[in-house]
């Protein structure tokens, strides 16, 4: 056992599967940042004479119906995908954790109101609500980001509330209260550090779902707007070209690998950080 209890990084990197997930995430970040310098062609370098070429040494992923290089578009779409999912999960994280803490630690009417609203939002299939929000606000990157963020707020609120509720009953939180520590101090020193584990896990898993949601919205024409490349929209465009399988396979593969990477990291984090497993371990040691 390591000296510090939460050297999550080391634990994570020691697990080959999680390390692979982290590697892919790192690669994606590199693509997102350096994409324009790495892509062999411009995203909208239309060349109808080269339309619908299968994969070759010149165009590794082939070309689309307008002769655009699919590899370049896949690479350049990484940035927008990551951007939408990071920002939307960021919105959901901040709002959800705040609401969850408010509901879970202070209970009372705040809890009642927040949880009723959460129940209502949970009554909609997530995708449907996102579509409805985008439908109302008009399609585009910003509205898609907001829509995905809004539908994930309740997820974070629930996770945080559940942890806060459980932590409130922990003897060490009671011990702090018995000493005379005020609610703000207790939240800062005892609750927040201890809810962070499930919230971090949820963040990673939500990033995966957000990538999927963004792809689905863009597929439906409600997210990223052409001509800006996006994985979801590329799939929609390729749908009609049943002979040009590469138009459908590679953008989809990009989504799949990205989502898989975030899921692997999330699962790894859960195993390393999950408080239930940890406490189960400790109680076994205890008696």
């Amino acid at each position: 056992m390591s000296a510090r209890p939460f050297s999550a990084w080391n634990h994570l990197l020691r697990r080959p599967v999680s390390a692979a997930g982290l590697g892919v995430v790192a690669l994606l970040v590199v693509l997102a940042v350096l994409g324009p310098h790495l892509a062999p062609y411009g995203p909208n370098a239309v060349d109808v004479t080269r339309a619908l070429r299968p994969p070759s040494t010149e165009h590794w992923f082939g070309t689309d119906d307008l002769g655009r290089d699919i590899l370049s578009r896949v690479v350049l779409a990484a940035r927008i995908s990551l951007q939408v999912s990071l920002v939307s999960v960021g919105i959901a994280l901040v709002a959800g954790v705040l609401l969850g803490l408010l509901a879970g630690y202070f209970r009372g009417w705040a809890d009642t109101v927040i949880m009723r609203v959460v129940d209502v939002v949970f009554a909609f299939p997530i995708m449907l609500l996102a579509i409805a929000i985008v439908a109302v606000l008009g399609p585009g990157v910003t509205t898609a980001t907001v829509a995905i963020g809004v539908v994930y707020v309740p997820v974070f609120a629930r996770v945080t509330r559940a942890s806060a509720l459980a932590l409130r009953e922990e003897p060490y939180v009671k011990a702090a209260a018995a000493i005379g520590a005020g609610p703000l101090r207790i939240i800062r020193t005892h609750i927040l550090p201890n809810v962070s584990a499930p919230v971090i896990v949820q963040t990673s898993l939500s990033l995966a779902f957000a990538i999927l949601s963004e792809a689905a919205l863009s597929f439906l024409g409600l997210g990223v707007q052409p001509p800006q490349p996006s994985w979801g929209r590329m799939l929609f465009d390729g749908k009609g070209f049943t002979d040009a399988w590469w138009m459908s396979v590679f953008p989809g593969l990009a989504i799949f690998v990205t989502v898989l990477a975030f899921n692997l990291v999330g699962d790894g984090l859960r195993d390393v950080l999950d408080p239930r497993q940890r406490s189960a371990m400790e109680s076994r040691r205890g008696r």
Partner: protein
């Protein structure tokens, strides 16, 4: 208000008891039945005092309300009625700085050494927390030095400060809990089943440590436990509780040698004797059934539904009866239970 209680402070109060609890009631909302809301009577009309430097043992089985009393004193639960005075100051009515000062003076050690320390904070941070909360000892260095002193006091090496709870054994963790409780120079320490989840050999270490600390620092304890032998070992005075009520109170010596309440007698006779020979040959009082629900306690004596001596009069309110000077019992049949041939059953 100075943060460290000097010997000259509050001399005027030194004559009275340190802690004076009167008519404490704690009720929790129970399930709702239609429009009628039922109440869990966790603690009903409990009074006791603790003299400075002494230990009061609060003994009872699960559901007796003994832990709720500890929680009420540290204001983890809000009492329904009653008063709590520390050195003559009303603890429950205090607000603001005064309330914080009173909180400083009442500390608590919890049962589960695995759950009562924050897994993400070092031992040092945990022990320093009361100092931080009460803004005692300005300066990091001063607080660190104090933490090291405290660890030394409870028999841990100073290096322990840098370690995390999961690296310690149960006994070591409980020592950390005690160091935390001592940090802010409290007058009263509530020990809520503080040795219950430790192994026998470690329990003894902790009980010895607590007694040494009491002698050294003049501490006052409220020792809450289900363990009759441990309570006898630790306490000067004892309160026996059942279903939120006092059954019997008295000095430890008197109460343990002449238990007057049938419940106390049953409780004592249920403790297995370490000597196999006496254990086999003695008669014991076996109680039938289980305690009634605290949602709907019986009228009069709450023990009457399981009491071997119960009679019709037990359904009436029970007056306090003095057994001797410092020994009271809440039982109208106590003459019955004091009869010599009944006593012989468990006095060996």
């Amino acid at each position: 208000m100075s943060s460290t209680a000097g010997p000259g402070e509050a001399l005027d109060n030194r004559t009275g008891p340190l802690l004076d609890v009167r008519n404490l009631c704690v009720r929790f909302p129970g399930p709702r039945e239609g429009r009628h809301r039922s109440w869990v009577h966790a603690v009903e009309d409990v009074s006791f005092t603790i003299e400075r430097g002494r230990t009061l043992g609060l003994v009872g089985e699960s559901g007796s309300g003994k832990s709720t009393i500890g929680n009420a004193l540290t204001r983890l639960v809000q009492p329904t009625s009653g008063t709590v005075r520390l050195d003559g100051q009303d603890v429950l009515a205090a607000r603001g700085a005064r309330a914080r000062e009173l909180r400083r003076r009442i500390a608590m050690v919890f049962q589960d050494p695995y759950a009562s320390l924050d897994p993400r904070r070092t031992v040092g941070a945990t022990v320093r927390e009361p100092l931080d909360v009460h803004r005692m000892l300005s300066g990091r260095a001063g607080r660190k030095r104090r933490a090291a002193e405290l660890l030394d006091l409870v028999g841990l090496v100073p290096e322990t400060a840098a370690r995390y709870p999961h690296e310690l054994s149960g006994g070591q963790r409980q020592r950390v809990s005690i160091a935390r409780a001592l940090a802010a120079d409290p007058d009263l320490i509530i020990l809520d089943e503080s040795t219950a989840s430790l192994d026998v050999s470690v329990q003894a270490q902790i009980m010895n440590l607590l007694r040494e600390l009491q002698d050294e620092l003049g501490l006052t304890y409220l020792f809450v436990s289900h363990d009759l032998a441990a309570v006898e070992h630790m306490s000067h005075h004892v309160v026996v509780m059942y279903l939120g009520r006092r059954m019997e109170t008295g000095t430890t010596d008197h109460l343990y040698s002449r238990p007057a309440h049938p419940y106390t007698q049953a409780l004592m006779s249920a403790v297995p004797d370490t000597d196999p020979a006496t254990e086999r040959n003695r008669e014991r009082i076996l109680l039938g059934g289980d305690p009634p629900s605290p949602l709907d306690p019986p009228s009069g004596c709450v023990f009457r539904t399981r009491c071997p001596l119960a009679a019709g009069e037990c359904a009436e309110p029970v007056p306090k009866t003095a057994v001797s000077g410092d020994h009271d019992v809440w039982c109208v049949r106590t003459e019955e239970s004091l009869s010599p041939e009944r006593l012989r059953r468990f006095v060996h």
